[in-house]
């Protein structure tokens, strides 16, 4: 996942968030942690958002929550449409990086993003999730993942996330048998 270099860790591999909708209670701790970590204003845009979805019809209605931040797409359309090259894709770790100094606030990225991720702050410039790169480089989890009490959110390389998902699925499948035995 990473190599040590001068105290920091150089991130290697393609990273991503995982999200388990069956675990999310919509507590919004991830949103608050993200705002705190990134010094975001109370009523301003947030890099991470939790959306509530209603499913079913009365009286069989259920609520589901989706906690979502930047997907750091493999072929990120926001990078392609950015007229200033403020957005770029890191070849090493796949993070869609953002240089605020270069942003002119044209909103092209907002129109290009299928997930509604780009948010604009009071100065008219875009801002977004960078996987808490500074935390991760020091061996910490992104702030939103760190505070997720139900462990609905996860973080790692895509290979790690795949492996964890397979483990959870195996556990779910095998537990009834082990209890029975």
């Amino acid at each position: 996942m990473e190599e040590a270099q001068g105290g920091n860790r150089v991130l290697k591999g393609k990273f991503g968030f995982s999200f388990d909708a069956t675990r999310c209670s919509g507590c919004m701790a991830c949103v608050v942690a993200c705002m705190d970590q990134n010094d975001l204003p109370e009523h301003g845009p947030s890099f991470r958002r939790v959306t509530c979805f209603e499913r079913g019809e009365y009286p069989e209605v259920r609520l589901h929550f989706l906690s979502m931040a930047c997907q750091h797409c493999l072929d990120a359309p926001c990078v392609m449409v950015c007229p200033t090259t403020a957005l770029s894709k890191s070849a090493g770790n796949g993070i869609v990086q953002f240089d605020r100094d270069l942003c002119v606030g044209c909103h092209s990225c907002a129109l290009a993003c299928d997930f509604g991720v780009p948010q604009f702050q009071d100065d008219g410039k875009m801002n977004k999730c960078d996987f808490c790169q500074s935390r991760v480089e020091h061996g910490l989890e992104p702030a939103c993942v760190r505070v997720c009490t139900t462990r609905a959110l996860g973080f790692g390389t895509l290979e790690e996330l795949d492996r964890r998902k397979a483990e959870r699925a195996s556990l779910k499948f095998l537990t009834p048998f082990s209890k029975g035995g």
């Binding site: 958002r49 959306t51 392609m80 200033t84 606030g105 909103h107 092209s108 299928d114």
Partner: protein
């Protein structure tokens, strides 16, 4: 593939992305880049931001000078293409040079159109906004102006009007159409923008034509019907663009409004590709050929062409008409077709005063085909995606014309890819 000779005509987003893509694909042979400028690629999208004082001049050249060295390109600066012989695969440059190509990309972009109004071409104070040189000239002209007539309430016309107003220049914005942004806004959305522009002090005159001009030492006099005369320092012409394809032989290469290309960016001539504003590719929705002058579209087309010229198999399915523009304190978004009319076409609109959101959604039956949206970033991309997927709204289709935005959000949450993630 190392032996072929790649020639790229042009030096904009499409040309640069083609060059990068060819190298990324592993092509190591010579790449010739022909440009009528003498330096790095200029992005015309950024000139309004420069003129508003938001960015310094060097930032209008987002790829910088280094990109040509990184891509090991052989640059032919200050070279204008005189003719292209697709049969013999040669490009003749003004001044006598000739380049032979194995594969060639035409990415020469577009230039502003000056409409055939009597006397307009003879007026010395007529300015357009597209190239780096035109931006510099316009900047100089703004410096001393007190009043300017902007011809054309197009996307660039409203931008120029905004720039001038922000620099305390009096503006008369004129269009022959009955509404502002006739190709990008629903009449009701256009009316909102028109009122907003008037509030900002812009004199908007729609359905208005100019009969003639007269120049004197104080500026230009514009003559309108009914003997009306307007004195102006100069005139900004923002009436559209035209592809730069004068050097193309229509017998050799199929043309419509621009050079016709397939989804691999191939033209009708062998080993000749076209991308960006000089090309006419597919509309994603209709599959039909449509000329869409969009920066991002040009970049994608250039990347596709570059990979294919390098021996790859890339395709680009096309895009739809879309635009986003911050205008004063508002953000105006246009997606898809706003001008379709018929018995099965419905307009759904609403206002969210708390968030400042205003939406105009055009449905064909229960399929969203066009969007005008003010001041919402979160749903712009998702609505664009809904239009491109021709998503059927079914029972989530709003019942009444006046539907609050939160209900549109709720419907989208139930329908689109984001909603389906849980």
């Amino acid at each position: 593939m190392t032996s072929a000779n790649l020639v790229i005509l042009g030096n904009g987003g499409a040309a640069i992305h083609a060059m990068i893509a060819a190298r990324s694909f592993g092509y190591s042979g010579p790449i010739h880049l022909v440009s009528d400028a003498n330096g790095p690629a200029f992005n015309p999208m950024l000139s309004p931001y420069y003129l508003k004082g938001k960015i310094p001049w060097h930032r209008c050249f987002p790829f910088g000078e280094d990109i040509y060295r990184k891509c090991d390109a052989i640059c032919h600066w200050n070279s204008r293409v005189e003719s292209l012989d697709a049969a013999n695969k040669t490009v003749s440059l003004a001044g006598g040079g000739t380049l032979h190509y194995d594969r060639c990309l035409v990415a020469t972009g577009a230039r502003p159109v000056v409409p055939p109004i009597a006397g307009l071409k003879d007026v010395p104070g007529v300015f357009t906004l597209r190239t780096a040189a035109q931006t510099r000239i316009l900047e100089k002209a703004i410096g001393s102006a007190k009043k300017v007539v902007v011809l054309g309430a197009s996307l660039i016309g409203v931008k120029v009007a905004e720039i001038l107003r922000q620099r305390n220049v009096g503006v008369v914005l004129i269009d022959v159409a009955e509404q502002i942004l006739p190709h990008s806004a629903h009449p009701r959305a256009a009316a909102v923008l028109e009122e907003y522009f008037r509030e900002k002090g812009i004199d908007v005159r729609l359905g208005c034509s100019i009969e003639g001009f007269e120049t004197d030492r104080d500026g230009v006099r514009c003559f309108f019907p009914n003997n009306m005369v307007e004195r102006t320092d100069w005139i900004a012409v923002c009436t559209g663009i035209r592809p730069n394809l004068d050097f193309i032989d229509p017998v050799q290469v199929s043309l419509d409004k621009a050079i016709l290309v397939n989804n691999r960016m191939e033209t009708s001539a062998e080993d000749l590709y076209a991308a960006g504003d000089v090309s006419q590719g597919a509309n994603f929705l209709t599959g039909k050929s449509e000329w869409l002058g969009l920066w991002a579209n040009g970049c994608y087309q250039g990347r596709t062409a570059g990979m294919n010229m390098a021996g790859g198999k890339a395709s680009y399915p096309g895009t739809i008409s879309q635009h986003v523009s911050p205008l004063f304190e508002q953000t105006f978004i246009q997606i898809g077709d706003l001008n379709r009319r018929g018995p099965n076409i419905r307009l759904i609109s609403g206002r969210d005063p708390e968030r400042g959101i205003l939406h105009f959604l055009i449905f064909e039956d229960d399929v969203l085909i066009g969007v005008n949206l003010f001041n919402n970033d979160s749903l712009a991309g998702r609505l664009r995606s809904a239009v491109m997927k021709r998503m059927e709204w079914g029972r989530y289709m709003p019942d009444v014309e006046q539907t609050p935005f939160h209900q549109v959000e709720k419907a989208l949450n139930a329908l689109d890819h984001v909603g389906k993630m849980v």
